[in-house]
Symmetry: C2
Subunit: 213 residues, 2 copies
Amino acid sequence: MTDAFTPSDDFSAQFDSLLAWRRDVRRFRTHPLEPGLLDDLIDRACLAPSVGNAQPWRFVSVEDADLRAVVAESFAKENAAAADAYEDDQARLYGELKLAGLKEAPVHLAVFSEAETERGGGLGRQTMPETLIYSTICAIHTLWLAARSRGVGVGWVSILDPGDVSKALKVPESWQFVGYLCLGYPIENHDDPELVRHGWQERIDRSDVFFRR
Amino acid sequence: MTDAFTPSDDFSAQFDSLLAWRRDVRRFRTHPLEPGLLDDLIDRACLAPSVGNAQPWRFVSVEDADLRAVVAESFAKENAAAADAYEDDQARLYGELKLAGLKEAPVHLAVFSEAETERGGGLGRQTMPETLIYSTICAIHTLWLAARSRGVGVGWVSILDPGDVSKALKVPESWQFVGYLCLGYPIENHDDPELVRHGWQERIDRSDVFFRR
């Protein structure tokens, strides 16, 4: 134990503001991140909680144009299939939404979770092995917030075939695909979700999600 | 869009400090949280990203002593079973670890994910339905960081039988048990994981988790 966390008086309020302005970004400027910033964000992500301290997160920066094209094709294919599931007004609205910034974002980060890691010695995951993946999700969210604290936007693309991405990137079979992140400086800043703004799904109240027993 | 996020110059450094000092807390003071603070933390958690803005997180504050006893029993049973899996030095070390603060923590929060929500209209989860649970994990981590920003520690208990908890709390069948959180003011503050300090699992390097393709 060294000195404890001693933030400034208004830190908590600023942190709340960070949460409000985090958002999923799909409109990026194309210029690159500052040198060293991606390494720095990965270091922050590694401070996430993990079950048994297993640290199962694996990040792949996808830089090759051909690999990016495979991902963009997977998105285009799966997004077209998803669009077919909607009808009438919902179909029209779905078609108008911008759901990814794959073409513009300067950084693409594929995130995997190592399912067969020996690190952590199995501690904490005998009844709930899924906590390994949960740890990786915490790392993604840590990276997301750390990025936003430095002015960088993140968008999470889930409309992909996990098999397509894993195969293209030639990752070990024990790595489970968890998410694909676009990073870059945002063109716009918002404190409300794009899907609220465009009338897809409203926010709900605390009373809808919080109960006492 | 209103005014963009405008943190103070040292916000990013303070946020990094928050990440370092977040930690999984298992040693709590027993006195209650400030009035209104738990509601406030739930409100922050609701700012987490969610697929299609589905907001599938469900929080149950477990306040009844008999319900808490069921959870404590499930932990004791599963922890004893887990301990049996280790041998020699590892078994001795496992036995010495304090893995939960269920007896002392003033707040117990069971977290579930609504698997059958219609909110979000299925957007973003046709190829990866597991992103609903991932959204709930992001809410947990948001709550965790918001708590720490206000001086409150969180410990995530995963050594439980999910069925035991769901049954005791009589939640809808479509709610998937994701995690059980203990909240309270910590007795100690640390910037290194308990499992590192006690020699269970070291931290690994960025080069072990970050790759470029």
